[in-house]
């Protein structure tokens, strides 16, 4: 609520609930900007209630002070029996301890949940990586098989630089050469795939490690 400009109250005198109740605001001229009557009234009611509360509290406190003063001067029982004071202290400490326990338990549960999620996340990443690696292998395998097949079909057998298995029958030699060509291509294709994949993975791990180091207790950095 915006604070309205209250009507001037003479300096020094205290504002009372009654005074406040009888305050009348001047109306704003027609067509001019002025106070919202409804809002002003609401505000005044609010202030009035607050003042009533403060006055009652003040009276109660004054009574209490008087009561305690007379009790203390009459030399009877102390303000509070030491026994009671001890139990109160024990109760307060117990409550504080329970609050502390609650905070500790909450914090532990929270980190446990976080860690659990991170663990699931990690497992998902790993199984995803495994799946991809497997896919890559199969991919490489298929490509290599196709390339090897093509190589053997187009090139004459002499083109194969492998140590020539001279005294093998033609069919066997052809199969062997095909195998060699396959393995070469396979390993080339696979290595390329794998290298780029591992590089991506390493970049990931680097980020991971550095963010982890930053979050360790004591920073270590």
């Amino acid at each position: 609520m915006n604070s309205p400009n209250l009507p001037v109250v003479s300096e020094g005198s205290r504002l009372t609930p009654g005074e406040l109740h009888s305050v009348v605001f001047a109306r704003a001229a027609l067509g001019r900007r002025g106070y919202d009557e409804e809002q002003v009234r609401n505000f005044l009611q609010y202030v009035e209630r607050e003042l009533v509360k403060i006055f009652t509290d003040k009276a109660a406190l004054a009574d209490e002070v008087n009561r305690l003063r007379s009790q203390a001067s009459s030399g009877s029982r102390g303000v509070m029996a030491p026994e009671d004071a001890h139990f109160q202290a024990v109760r307060i400490l117990s409550q504080a301890q329970q609050t502390a326990d609650l905070y500790v338990a909450d914090a532990e549960r929270y980190t446990r949940e976080l860690a659990h999620e991170a663990r699931l996340h990690r497992e998902a990443i790993l199984s995803d990586a495994k799946g991809r690696a497997e896919q890559m292998l199969e991919d490489a395998h298929r490509k290599a098989a196709a390339v090897a097949e093509a190589a053997v079909r187009t090139a004459p057998p002499q083109a194969a630089p492998a140590p020539r298995p001279e005294n093998l029958p033609d069919a066997d030699r052809l199969a062997l050469e095909r195998e060699i060509a396959y393995l070469r291509t396979y390993s080339d294709v696979y290595r390329t795939h794998l290298r780029s994949y591992l590089e991506a993975l390493l970049r990931n791990v680097d980020e991971w490690e550095s963010s982890e180091r930053a979050s360790l207790p004591g920073g270590n950095a």
């Binding site: 001890h86 202290a89 024990v90 109760r91 400490l93 117990s94 301890q97 329970q98 502390a100 326990d101 500790v104 338990a105 532990e108 549960r109 929270y110 980190t111 446990r112 949940e113 860690a115 659990h116 663990r119 990690r122 495994k130 690696a133 497997e134 292998l137 199969e138 982890e212 360790l216 207790p217 004591g218 270590n220």
Partner: protein, 383 residues
């Protein structure tokens, strides 16, 4: 001292549950604020322990042959917390105040003198054991981390140099405290037989959300300091036995069994040893490389790794996991059972509670007498 009266009194008070220990500690700390620093910030675990211990003590108060060793151990354990004789009367006073508070009208002078006598006796036994222990052993050992090897994102092997020799039997554990988690003591097993340079290895596995293990696994480096209590534990080698040896380890439960393995290897004529090492997945077998090396060097040793959560590899994935041969698949206890019979063996089992429970069940079913099986269980949260 009337044992029956004490039991009835404790039963009545214990009905109020956690409120009892809560009141006790608050009373203790209001009267003696300087004692607050000796306890952890979060106290719910500590309250459980106190009530359980008191219940145990009261239930055995007329069976001293069982109670006394328990109290002696408790007294020795309290040395590492820095507890000395002058602390005991404070605790006694608050205990009495608590019992009185929760007994209401049931509290009588007789009951008060019963409780006073019981506490005095308990404190005396604990203190005498502590004092006797002090003649031969420090209250704690300071240690310095000399090496950390991260084996997996959640498993590290730490090597620690104690400031003086730490005498222990392979298979035992010590309570350990790290500076960034003061008052949180956790047990870890020494993973090696004692060495001439007195260094000890620990295999630590991170428990999600735990206060201590994440610090040890991920936040510790060479040069860091720790404190260690006195060694405890009964998972130790039966030196008098002529039988062959079966070791069954789940995850970091390997640590104490590896120490026992080392002890066996120092014998002139080692018995035959089978070591089963299980984890959920292959990368959980964090120490397999080293174990395989040992198995290569010792003809009397067979190492069987096992994983429970990964199916046997086929096709391309098995190609990716080269060197997978020899890894068994299935629950560790089943894998062990498949390789039996074990009735001529002494068995040592360590790991998560469920795994240890199943293994002991299987072994006894297969005819291994229960008293030839020694075991230790770690935190239940271990997977």
């Amino acid at each position: 001292m009337d044992a029956q009266r004490l039991k009835a009194s404790f039963a009545q008070v214990a009905e109020k549950g956690d409120a009892v220990a809560l009141f006790f500690y608050s009373d203790l700390f209001v009267r003696n604020p300087h004692l607050r620093d000796m306890f952890p910030i979060g106290m719910s675990g500590q309250r459980d322990k106190l009530l359980r211990a008191l219940g145990h003590i009261v239930s055995q108060v007329d069976d001293l042959s069982n109670l006394v060793p328990f109290l002696q151990q408790l007294g020795r354990d309290h040395r590492r917390f820095g507890i000395v004789a002058e602390h005991y009367p404070h605790v006694g006073a608050s205990l009495l105040a608590t019992l009185r508070h929760f007994s209401g009208t049931a509290w009588t002078d007789d009951l008060e003198s019963d409780w006073t006598a019981a506490y005095t006796l308990v404190a005396k036994v604990m203190l005498e054991a502590a004092d006797e222990n002090a003649l031969t052993s420090p209250a704690w050992w300071n240690g310095q981390v000399v090496a950390v090897e991260r084996r997996r994102f959640d498993i590290s092997v730490l090597r620690i140099q104690p400031d003086r020799p730490l005498p222990y039997a392979p298979g035992q554990s010590v309570a350990l405290e790290v500076p960034s988690r003061l008052r949180h003591w956790r047990y870890y097993s020494m993973a090696n037989a004692p060495r001439p340079d007195h260094t000890v290895d620990f295999h630590v596995r991170l428990v999600d959300g735990g206060p201590v293990s994440p610090v040890l696994v991920r936040g510790t480096q060479a040069g860091d300091r720790v404190r260690m209590g006195a060694p405890i534990g009964t998972l130790t080698l039966d030196e008098s036995s002529p039988r062959d040896v079966l070791l069954v380890a789940g995850s970091t439960g390997l640590a104490p069994l590896k120490a026992i393995l080392e002890q066996v290897s120092r014998r002139a004529v080692p018995p035959r040893v089978h070591l089963f090492f299980g984890a959920r997945s292959r990368d959980g077998l964090y120490d397999l490389e080293d174990l395989a090396k040992l198995a290569d060097g010792f003809p009397w040793l067979t190492v069987v790794p096992a994983v429970s959560d990964e199916p046997g590899g086929h096709g391309f994935s098995s190609l990716l996991q080269s060197g997978d041969d020899g890894i068994e698949h299935g629950n560790l206890s089943d894998v062990v059972a498949r390789r039996g019979p074990w009735d001529g063996h002494d068995a040592y089992v360590c790991g998560p509670a469920v795994m240890v429970g199943h293994t002991v069940e299987q072994l006894t079913r297969l005819g291994v007498p229960r008293d030839r099986i020694r075991l230790e269980t770690f935190a239940d949260a271990q997977r």
